[in-house]
């Protein structure tokens, strides 16, 4: 069989052909992702139909929106029957939505500045690549923010700060003699310093003073932010202590912590707010009257610390017992081993859980509207919807509340996912 008998032999390789149109590019993507089978095709078509209905309803509502009317009836006149949102309620009541209706309007810059500073001072905590020296800002922030939001003389927060500093110095001096003794001494020095500082700041109420604003005048989204940040940051140390107490091998302390945690986790926050509103006053010394906001902060902090304690306990339990044994074999005492070995690792494991608790807590701050405090939801339900100008407007206001909460909570949870990714050690 010689070569010439063959009809055809190809000598060169065929050029590569492009894949068929149904198997490449956007068509392939559509086939794979939107129309892979009859059921999915129906689902896609239904989804597209609903999206179309939603957008065709919502788009004109946005485009025709009125931003400059002073009441709902005026807004309807401008719209003249056309579909459109009355976003002017947001522009007209902007300050009320954010600051409540009693906060003095000439002082709006103070909470705004406090909010900006919050972003600045929380950054070094959130992002470990920032220089560590910035943490000084974080430490100073609570005192500055207190002064900015509540006003009064700067001496009050200054004395509180100096009390902490004095206590810390005393603690460092005697730390070598034992953690417990040093901690007790530090607390004692702090308390004495506060007691003295109280006299100084009440003697000179006008030194670098801002107009004082009583806390019952706080309202709007500002109140949600205050409650959220204060309660989360206060509940962290308490939560860690409760978790350590629950893990402890001293039965009395363990059971105290267990009962506290399980009791708080078993009841809804709203009942705790009832306690803050109507019951707590019975348990305080006769004649004292606590601010409602302070009572609410106490109860929400208790609530949050119980949840954080459970998260941290999970972190503690997840650590291999070799870590505890290694710390013991190095000769570290309980305080040292917790501070240097156990807690840094356990807290790192529990960060996602803590962030979840923080997001949940921030959402739960809206419940204070039930005990007639005027946070964002309380402002919308109360003064704004009850006013003659804006009675009957719902979508714009609730949409605004949804957007505000979504932005805050979604960014926190995205941060948590990013951090989880960063903290992952290579476990292959």
């Amino acid at each position: 069989m010689s070569k010439s008998e063959l009809a055809f032999v190809r000598h060169e390789i065929l050029p590569e052909q492009t894949p068929p149109i149904t198997d490449a590019g956007i068509v392939k993507w559509l086939r794979d992702n939107l129309f892979p089978g009859p059921i999915n095709t129906i689902l896609t078509l239904v989804a597209i139909y609903f999206l179309f209905k939603l957008l065709s309803g919502a788009m004109p509502w946005f485009w025709n929106g009125v931003w400059t009317a002073s009441s709902l009836s005026e807004c309807r006149e401008i719209l003249n029957g056309a579909t459109g949102g009355c976003f002017s309620v947001l522009t007209e009541r902007w300050n009320q939505l954010l600051f409540g209706f009693k906060y003095p309007s000439e002082a709006y810059w103070r909470p705004t500045l406090a909010f900006v500073l919050l972003l600045v001072s929380i950054a070094p905590v959130l992002f470990s690549m920032l220089p560590r020296k910035l943490l000084i800002l974080t430490v100073l922030y609570p005192f500055v923010a207190f002064w900015l939001i509540w006003g009064g003389t700067i001496l009050t927060p200054l004395m509180i700060l100096l009390g902490f500093v004095a206590g810390y110095v005393a603690f460092r001096r005697v730390e070598a003699k034992g953690f417990g003794t040093a901690a007790l001494l530090g607390i004692a020095v702090t308390v004495v310093f506060w007691w003295l500082g109280g006299y100084i700041s009440s003697a000179a109420p006008n030194v670098v003073a801002l107009t004082p604003v009583p806390s019952r005048d706080m309202g709007g989204f500002m109140l949600n932010m205050i409650l959220g940040t204060v309660c989360v940051s206060l509940s962290l140390p308490f939560g860690v202590l409760l978790a350590l107490g629950r893990q402890s091998n001293m039965p009395i302390i363990k059971w105290m912590c267990v009962i506290f945690i399980e009791f708080i986790r078993g009841v809804p926050l709203i009942t705790l707010l009832f306690v803050a509103n109507v019951v707590l006053a019975y348990f305080l010394p006769p004649g004292t009257s606590f601010d409602l906001i302070l009572r609410v902060i106490i109860m929400i902090t208790m609530f949050a610390s119980a949840y954080i304690a459970e998260v941290v306990r999970g972190g503690l339990a997840a650590l291999p017992s070799g870590q505890y044994e290694a710390a013991n074999s190095l000769g570290l005492d309980y305080a040292q081993s917790m501070r240097l070995i156990i807690l840094p690792q356990a807290l790192k494991i529990s960060i996602p859980g803590i962030v979840n608790v923080a997001v949940g807590l921030f959402k739960d701050t809206t419940l204070v509207s039930v005990i007639s405090m005027f946070d964002l939801v309380g402002m919308i339900r109360g003064p704004i919807l009850a006013s003659t100008e804006w009675n009957g407007i719902y979508w714009e206001l609730w949409g605004f509340a949804v957007v505000l909460f979504f932005i805050v909570c979604y960014s926190i949870s995205q941060y948590s996912q990013w951090l989880e990714h960063q903290l992952q050690r290579d476990h292959r």
Binding site: T271, W398, C409
Partner: protein
């Protein structure tokens, strides 16, 4: 050596209470207990003092007094002359009603959304992701209020159903969805209906017995009995047969328009409907995440191993993936049920009279018995959550991997 230990035992010094690890824990516990007792004594003395100043005392007598207020939605007989205790029981039943219905609806939506989030369909996947993120990141109180406004604003009023050419019409002449609430047909049980219900219960038990029998046959004799169709048959056939044998003892009372409002049937107010719906779709977003995580946690090798054994896709899902996924899904699912039950206390914001609205709301305000009411309220919720945690523990122990 003996002299050393003897000398250490002899020379007990007071400072050892703090510095010696053998005694230190006792000291700490003693101090903690002392502080706790002092705290309680302090709070208690303040309480006694405050109550005396206000001329009050702690007593639960008020529970027996007539409540004097109406509850517009109730599962048991109640009028304004009934006692506060009965009002609280009405509230408890309302809480349980919305919690149970909410858990059922939330599970259905959550499971469907969780599975759809893993769908091959890009559009469906994205829509479900948007749903989950929006609902998880906005407070449930806002959702409850939004849904109440939406129901009130969008749905027609009862008067729209009137006239020759009404703006709205009833669904199958049986269901009416109005801005005031939903009207459903109400079953009326006449004589002989007990036997029909007994048959129904018996056939449900029969289904379980049959399934157990089929499983036993599979494991012991290796025979594969059909499960689905016999179950469906057992569910429907005996009840329907008995229903006609007894001469149709259960009739429906349909709601009908009389004057300006509907009469008859079951009336569920929009406060209840919106609370139920809002709690369900809010919790469903969390359940969807749990379901998704549970299914993703079953490693792909399990599916492939099952496939290489020759199992069909349906059986892979039922016998291999689901049992492993459920072990991961159910504990967080139960804690979501717990959250839903606790969140149902937000009923007070829409005026649904659950136990927070009756005992913690009107009863508290009318009698001024703040401490007693709030204490009872907390104990009720505590009892529910302890019961749910007990169920969870039983389940966890039942499905725990038996490691040796």
């Amino acid at each position: 050596m003996s002299s050393l230990s003897a000398s250490r035992a002899d020379s007990f010094k007071l400072s050892q209470l703090f510095n010696d690890t053998r005694y230190r824990s006792y000291t700490f516990q003693f101090i903690a207990l002392l502080l706790l007792i002092m705290l309680f004594a302090y709070l208690g003395s303040n309480l006694v003092q405050n109550l005396r100043d206000a001329g009050l005392n702690i007593s639960y007598q008020f529970l027996g007094e007539p409540a004097g207020y109406d509850i517009n939605q109730r599962l048991i007989e109640y009028d304004s002359q009934s006692s506060h205790l009965r009002a609280s029981v009405v509230g408890v039943l309302n809480t349980l009603l919305v919690a149970v219905l909410g858990c059922i609806l939330a599970t259905i939506i959550g499971v469907v959304v969780g599975i759809l989030r893993l769908s091959k369909n890009w559009l469906i996947r994205k829509i479900m992701a948007v749903y989950v993120e929006i609902f998880r990141n906005v407070p449930v109180l806002i959702w409850i209020l939004i849904i109440l406004s939406v129901f009130t604003a969008i749905l027609p009023q009862p008067r729209d159903f009137r006239g020759e050419n009404p703006d709205a019409s009833m669904l199958w002449d049986a269901f009416a969805f109005t801005g005031r609430g939903f009207y459903f047909p109400k079953p009326i049980f006449e004589a002989g209906s007990g036997i029909v219900i007994a048959t129904f219960i018996a056939s449900i038990i029969g289904i379980f017995v049959y399934r157990a029998y089929a499983r036993k046959q599979l494991y012991e004799a290796g025979r594969l009995l059909p499960i689905f169709w016999p179950s469906v048959g057992l569910f429907f056939v005996p009840v329907i047969v008995m229903f006609f044998i007894m001469g149709q003892p259960i009739v429906m009372d349909y709601p009908s328009l009389q004057g300006f409002n509907f009469q008859g049937g079951i009336f569920a107010r929009n406060s209840f409907i919106s609370l139920w719906f809002a709690l369900s779709i809010y919790t469903a977003a969390f359940i969807a995440e749990n379901v998704r995580a549970g299914i993703l946690a079953v490693s792909k090798g399990q599916t492939e191993a099952a496939a290489s054994l020759g199992l069909r896709p349906g059986r892979i899902m039922n016998l291999v993936v689901l049992p492993q996924a459920l072990r991961i899904i159910i504990p967080p699912l139960i804690s979501q049920y717990l959250n839903l039950t606790k969140n149902s206390s937000l009923a007070i914001a829409v005026g649904y009279m659950d136990v927070t609205g009756t005992l913690g709301g009107i009863t508290l305000n009318q009698t001024g018995r703040a401490i007693e009411s709030v204490l009872l309220l907390m104990l009720f919720y505590l009892a529910i959550s302890l019961a749910i945690s007990a169920v969870m523990n039983v389940y966890n122990n039942a499905v725990k991997l038996k490691e040796r």
